[in-house]
Amino acid sequence: MSNTVLYDHPGPRARIRNAVLTVVFGIALLALLWWVYRKFDEAGQWAGPLWKPFTESNTWMNFILPGLGQTLLAAATGMVLSLAFGIIFAVGRLSEHRWISVPAGVVVEFFRAVPLLLMIFFIFFGVPFLIQGPVPAFWAVVVGLTLYNGSVLAEAFRAGIRAVPRGQAEAAYAIGMRKSLVMQHILVPQAARSMLPVIVSQLVVLLKDTALGYIVAFPELLQRGVNDLSANFGNVVAAAMVVATIYVILNSLLTMLANWLDRRSQRRGKAPKEAGTPVSAVPPGGDGTAIAI
């Protein structure tokens, strides 16, 4: 439903009312922003020395960009592994053999319920005692991200596979394909296409969550750009603002990609008719994991 359906075309009175509301709200918003700006100014947060480091190449070359590189590397590795994990466990959970579907279900439900912070702590500080060897911070972060996001993706894929019209699988069986072939060639590709926007939104989540890596001193954007940088220059708030801006830009680009993919799949009409948007792609009664958070 497009937004304009919700209200009538404004007449003269509505136009005046809207204009008044626009001005009032606009002024209130600007006043708030101005107040925040003044308060930060009073606290000396805009002082030159705090921001000067960001005009120097050393800051970018040795702190922010290497941190960004590690963030992207962890996110990319985590995404590939999460996709693999998601597909395997989605298919496993749909298996007709209970000895496969039940353990797969338990694993997925467990890792969806455990906070990522807990996972990373355990992998980094706990697992080394079990394997009698070190776990690099990178892998603690990537494995944590994989288990969590992989489980979320597994549920999304499962919903997607179930949303593929029944006729597709029936037709495939009718021409003599076996179960594994039907899954491989008919169901998973179609589910993956209709789930593409969800997959990309999950990538945004994954990228944001790499920021938790700083708690195990993984040298990603937050650790290098905020903690280490501010130890040098004492500008923790300024540094956090710059780093937050980088995250917002990066994730906005990914979100735009997700929206573009969404529109594209809708236009092509390949997705099942009832499954226009990611949320409604989850059949009623599905557990709604298609939403990325």
Binding site: L6, A113, A240, Y247, S252, D287, I291
Partner: protein
């Protein structure tokens, strides 16, 4: 299990989970109210409101929660002087609630907006035809129907909120993840039991919550 036999450790663990529950509870209410308001803004006839809603969603949904919570401490509290309580932990708790609800509201808003999209156009047209205003259309006709469609996604958001509340530990609240880290560091020989207890409590809280929302969504689904 000697770790949790020590009453100090047990108390810290219980206190940690109580913080998680309190954070989740307060933030869930605030985020829901804020999210519905933002969604209403995003579909409203007034451009400034639409812009504000879109800006909120795009900024807060794309920033790591760790940074949002950080700004609540170093922006709202340290710089703007917003103080909720003289008690250190209470103050951090409320700052955490502000951060969590700010972040979560962006997701609630988007879920409700897609819920609004599932309501057939005819419903809104009929509402307008009988002379309802925008606010009335939204409140009486659209949101109740959209609400039923978003029960499942809202459930997922609630679960994520509960897990995300561990991040408030990064500004110094001794919630469960911080307690677990301390216990692991102090008891290297009992790492697995410690993890299983903490992860187990979360699973015990959240897996049933997930199934409950699945069941509720099924019951409330609008049959069309």
């Amino acid at each position: 299990m000697h770790v949790f036999g020590d009453s100090a450790n047990l108390d810290a663990t219980v206190a940690g989970f109580l913080w998680i529950l309190k954070l989740t509870g307060a933030s869930a209410v605030l985020a829901l109210v804020l999210g519905v308001l933002l969604a209403a803004m995003r579909v409203s006839p007034i451009p400034v409101l639409r812009l504000f809603g879109a800006g909120w969603v795009n900024i807060f949904r794309n920033t790591p929660l760790t940074l949002i919570v950080f700004f609540c401490y170093f922006g709202l509290y340290t710089t703007l002087g917003l103080t909720f309580s003289d008690d250190l932990a209470r103050n951090i708790y409320w700052l955490g609630v502000v951060g969590l609800s700010t972040y979560t509201a962006a997701f609630v808003c988007e879920a409700i907006r897609s819920g609004i999209n599932t309501v057939p156009t005819g419903q809104a047209e009929a509402a307008r035809a009988i002379g309802l205003t925008f606010a009335q259309t939204l409140r009486i006709v659209i949101l109740p129907q959209a609400g039923r469609a978003v029960v499942a996604p809202l459930g997922s958001i609630l679960i994520a909120l509960c897990k995300n509340s561990t991040i408030v530990g990064t500004i110094g609240l001794m919630e469960s993840a911080s307690v677990m880290k301390d216990l692991i560091n102090a008891n290297g020989d009992a790492v697995v039991p410690i993890f299983l207890v903490f992860a187990g409590v979360f699973a015990l809280l959240l897996v049933p919550t997930g199934y409950f929302f699945g069941w509720l969504a099924n019951r409330l689904a609008v049959k069309r």
